[in-house]
């Protein structure tokens, strides 16, 4: 079950990890027993250089943050480094009420194994900062240039906390990195993470006093096709955006979406202009619209969107799909996966044309990643 040609879907939930496996047909699924049962798993991610290397961010309110690592495709795990110490005196950011609030580590939201080096992995944390390990998670060092950016004392948490939730490497340039923070926005480094610049030009957010501010935007997720590192897609709090100059400028591509609020965004594995989002009613109603679970696909890089509904519930459905809970595989017929706060994981093996649940009754899903296995 652990070593086979096909796909391995890594699901992080409120109460443990589940590993879902299938062959290339992706119709006959095996669901693992829960791993780390009872622990909150914000993210599970495998290395693209070595699919046997997987990391999990594990935490509870009682016992804090742990990082688990597997070197055999998820069969066995070992706790690794869990010390996330801010570099130097961490200073303050703004609290919800506008008063200064000291930076405090809460949890690891996102783990990003490097595409350049198998033992390098990034961790995006709350309160927002970026950490890197170069020894496979054994120890973590902050890249403090981001958290000490001039704008940082003005950053404010989004409703889910002030989290660094997205880390994207440029596969063609080991020195270039993108991160996104709720609710500060996008930052880019061109020197391997030492220094950072906000990249939010073109974003407009009605919830902040200056709609076009340099920082303060609640970016929910970024996505990049590895062959087009200049092009980024963004699901902002409200608005779906794209940039074709590595984040220097953004334009809105929400087009005909029924609502442009949402969390995840993903790009087709073989078609860089095919993009997926899951529209969510609003920031005050974190459920899909009209009781219908619909993925929207654009084959034109945004602006024109079509609903994908075959096999998804079209009545009495009121779930959310969180920012880290959608992924694509890279088989010839691109597979798409997402998990809901209701504990369902849905899969499509035909780029979204049709869907079926892999499993329906897991704990609330926080993250979904997929590994395409040789």
């Amino acid at each position: 079950m652990w070593h086979m040609s096909g796909v391995r879907v890594l699901v992080g939930t409120r109460k443990g990890v589940f590993v879902l496996t299938a062959d290339e047909g992706r119709s006959d699924w095996t669901v693992s027993e829960p791993l780390f049962s009872g622990w909150e798993i914000y993210h599970v991610a495998g290395s693209r250089l070595d699919p046997d290397r997987i990391y999990a961010s594990q935490s509870t309110g009682w016992f804090g943050q742990l990082i688990q690592r597997s070197d055999d495709g998820g069969k066995t795990w070992e706790p690794v480094g869990k010390e996330f110490r801010y570099d130097g005196e961490p200073g303050t950011h703004q609290w919800y009420d506008g008063t200064p609030h000291p930076w405090e580590f809460a949890r690891v939201w996102h783990l990003e194994p490097s595409v350049h080096d198998v033992d390098t992995v990034y961790a995006g944390v709350e309160d927002a900062a970026l950490f890197r390990s170069t020894d496979g998670g054994g120890s973590w060092q902050e890249l403090p240039g981001l958290r000490t950016h001039d704008s940082a004392p003005s950053w404010q948490p989004g409703a889910g906390g002030m989290c660094l939730h997205t880390v994207i490497e440029d596969p063609s340039d080991p020195l270039r990195l993108f991160t996104a923070i709720s609710a500060a926005g996008v930052f880019r480094s061109d020197d391997g993470g030492a220094s950072w610049l906000p990249k939010n030009r073109g974003l407009r957010s009605g919830q902040i006093p200056d709609e076009d501010a340099e920082v303060g935007h609640c970016v929910h997720r970024l996505a990049m096709h590895p062959d087009r590192p200049q092009t980024l897609f963004m699901q902002k709090h409200w608005d779906v955006m794209r940039s074709d100059d590595a984040g220097d400028n953004w334009r809105e591509v929400s087009g005909n979406l029924p609502t442009d609020f949402g969390f995840p965004i993903a790009v087709h594995a073989h078609e860089p202009e095919t993009v997926y989002v899951v529209p969510i009613t609003s920031d005050s109603e974190h459920v899909v619209m009209d009781g219908k679970l619909r993925v929207y696909r654009s084959r034109t890089g945004g602006d024109q969107w079509e609903p994908l509904t075959a096999g998804l519930p079209q009545e009495n459905c009121y779930v959310n799909v969180l920012r880290d809970a959608m992924a694509v595989d890279s088989l010839d017929s691109c597979g798409l996966y997402f998990g809901t706060t209701g504990g369902q994981v849905y899969a499509s093996s035909d780029a979204g044309d049709s869907w079926a649940p892999i499993v329906r009754d897991l704990p609330a899903v926080l993250s979904v990643e997929v590994q395409t296995l040789p």
Binding site: G61, W62, F63, G64, Q65, L66, P79, K82, E83
Partner: protein, 95 residues
């Protein structure tokens, strides 16, 4: 000592755990000894940096709550004699 189920599974322990913590064990020294013997538990009971008890963790022994006692407090004689355990407990929280 008795640990919560989550921490037993993390440290691959079953049942009670016995630690050697010197001649006059205190709350601090018994936790130090536990973490030395089982490094995976570092940071799960006490903050690694400050050494402070995590907010939702409690220490009990002999039906007494020792959570708010100074960490230099000696453990009760019944615990040293092995008649009563020192309990690390996950406080009631969440739903």
């Amino acid at each position: 000592m008795v640990l919560p189920a989550h921490l037993r599974s993390l440290a691959n322990l079953s049942g009670e755990v016995t630690v050697v913590a010197g001649d006059e064990p205190t709350i601090r020294s018994v936790l130090d000894a536990l973490e030395r013997a089982h490094p995976a538990l570092r940071g799960t009971i006490r903050d690694q940096e400050s050494g402070k008890r995590r907010p939702f963790v409690r220490y009990y022994a002999c039906s007494e709550d020792l959570s708010h006692e100074p960490v230099s407090t000696p453990l009760p004689p019944e615990v040293l004699a092995g008649k009563e355990p020192f309990l690390v407990v996950g406080a009631m929280a969440g739903g």
